[in-house]
Amino acid sequence: MLTILFDGVAYGMLLFVLACGLSVTLGLMNFINLAHGSFAMAGGYCTVIVVNRLGVPFALGLLIAFMVSALLGGLLERTLYVHVYARPHLDQVLFTIGLVFMSVASIDYVMGSSQQFVQIPEALQGQIDVFGVGMGKYRLLIIVVCGLLTIALQLMLTKTRFGSRLRAAVDDQRVARGLGINVGAVFGVTFAFGSGLAGLGGALGAEILGLDPTFPLKYMIYFLIVVTVGGTSSITGPFLASILLGIGDVAGKYYVPKLGAFVIYAIMIVVLIWRPQGLFARSTAR
């Protein structure tokens, strides 16, 4: 029981790191980016290449995954995404789904369609017992890393100058512009950073979520659930939503394995009917 809870939390933390970039882009530019999972996949494959083939240490591999995905995100944002911000939602959906299809086929072409595994250092394999609860070391690492990241993100949002600019831009773009905040630049940096985080999440999660070319399609719905259920106005909303989703999914698959993800979809629909703006959104809807 506690093990399920533990696994669920690890899973949820991972989902949060994967999805938090998406929640910021959605909240900031009202942009529906279905291709977010592609950046996560890029990070995952990047780690597979540098760790398995080039023998780079695992921790450095994670860092490289972050950098590469962030660069990729920043590049695509400056060249392609900027043209689509002002378009209707339908265009955004079409555009990003097109990107997903392209990334799926390209990875399939370059790396093959079979599932990839990252070689995890031996020190991180196996379990340890804490108060009689068996915990996978790797999952513990995920919780620690993602927890630290979450705290860092929260501090960055609340304490730094960039954070306050970002919050101002999310709250009211026009006024923020009027105050001389370069919203476009803030957005570009955030997009790149969010993509980098997704890449890191993809690299960390390759072990748990599995990594194959259909990754962006398989997990797209999960990211979107985190964002829609959590709301886009803060990062605590998506954080709580991902933890709930992680625990719900792991528990659902453990107790009613035949129903699969049915439980999750049902919960999402109920939440969205009950509170269309998200479970943890602030009540001051604009």
Binding site: H89, L94, I97, D108, L224, T228, L259, L272
Partner: protein
């Protein structure tokens, strides 16, 4: 306003609606060509049948996207539900005759559409996307769960279709199946056309333009949306049932996201909001897919994605205006070719 005045206005409106709804020579030529394909390309029945099913499916999305402005990634829910329904009733001999099974499947899908329409009415575009997608994924999970009934990942097998109306067998070459699909497509198209050219269809356009103003002039926005969503779900269901009936097979893939996403692409290629978009788009899409698949069998998805990205970057509106001007030019051309039909058509509103 006096009574006579009001009557005159009503008459004017009626004449206007009638004028709008007249079949243009181009449309007639289009349908003659569509039915001529039965004799023109006898070796291509399979791909043409798939195209007809896709066209009907795209038509259903056009009704809600092009006319009511609802973005949906979940049309596959209705397609899949009706697909399984028609397969199961045929397999277990509940409704043996295909046409009645088809109608029942459409009704079942429309019922699901009616129930889920209330979910879709709430929230923003993103919420709608999520809810429509969620419904189709949930149905997919359910179909997977009851694998002893649906066959699970192996698909529904052992469906034995009875002859259509007890007369026409589904033959090996797909000839009868194709004719059946075309007739169903045409009937559905006529119904859809009747709907969008009616005052009801006009009111849909107005609430797509500005739902607040539409509500202000007394259009019951909510119920209009429920109605069109239900009708579109029924059409999507008929398309799904057609696919199952003509292939005697149904798999979990009917609920997949790819199917809904491809459908959006079809409609975008053809253009939204004039009914023929789905049909034209389906033809172009199928040819494109067939052509790319022969070039690179495994990676055709890449090129489909590229087409989507390019269309959006060029500007969907620009593409659509191009198509619209082409359409106008074509119909002018057709009118010149068929002066007699045009003259007959032109005389009609004055006579009434």
């Amino acid at each position: 306003m006096t009574v006579e005045n009001r009557a005159a206005t009503a008459e004017g409106i009626a004449a206007y609606l009638k004028d709008r709804a007249r079949w243009s020579p181009l449309e007639i030529a289009f349908w003659i060509f569509v039915f001529a394909t039965i004799w023109l390309f006898p070796g291509k029945y399979l791909i043409m049948k798939d195209t007809a099913v896709l066209a009907l499916f795209a038509l259903s999305l056009d009704l809600i996207l092009g006319y009511a402005g609802i973005i949906s990634l979940g049309q596959a829910a209705f397609f899949g539900l009706a697909g399984y329904f028609s397969g199961l009733v045929a397999k277990y001999g509940l409704i043996i005759e295909p046409v009645s099974a088809l109608i029942c499947s459409g009704v079942v899908a429309a019922a699901l559409g009616f129930v889920t329409s209330f979910l879709v009415l709430r929230g923003s575009d993103l919420t709608r996307l999520m809810v429509t997608l969620g419904v189709s994924l949930m149905l997919g999970e359910v179909a997977n769960r009851y694998s002893d009934l649906t066959g699970g990942a192996d698909g529904l097998q052992g469906v034995d279709m009875a002859p259509i109306l007890g007369l026409f067998r589904f033959d090996l070459y797909g000839h009868n199946g194709y004719v059946y699909c075309l007739i169903v497509l045409f009937v559905c198209f006529v119904i859809a056309r009747r709907i969008v050219y009616s005052p009801f269809g006009l009111s849909l356009r107005s609430l797509k333009g500005n739902s607040l103003r539409a509500a202000a002039i007394g259009i019951p926005v909510k119920w209009r949306l429920v109605a069109i969503y239900t009708v579109a779900a029924g059409f999507a269901g008929i398309a799904g049932a057609l696919l199952t009936q003509t292939t005697a097979f149904c798999s979990l893939d009917v609920f997949s996201l790819d199917r809904s996403a491809d459908l959006l692409l079809v409609l975008i290629i053809g253009g939204t909001g004039y009914l023929y978009g789905g049909l034209v788009g389906a033809v172009i899409y199928k040819f494109l897919q067939d052509w790319i698949a022969t070039l690179t069998p495994q990676y055709w998805q890449f090129w489909i994605g590229l087409v989507l990205v390019v269309i959006v970057l060029i500007g969907r509106e620009r593409v659509e205006t191009r198509i619209a001007t082409l359409r106008v030019a074509l119909s002018r051309f057709a009118t010149r070719l068929m002066p007699r039909t045009a003259a007959l058509g032109g005389a009609a509103p004055d006579g009434h």
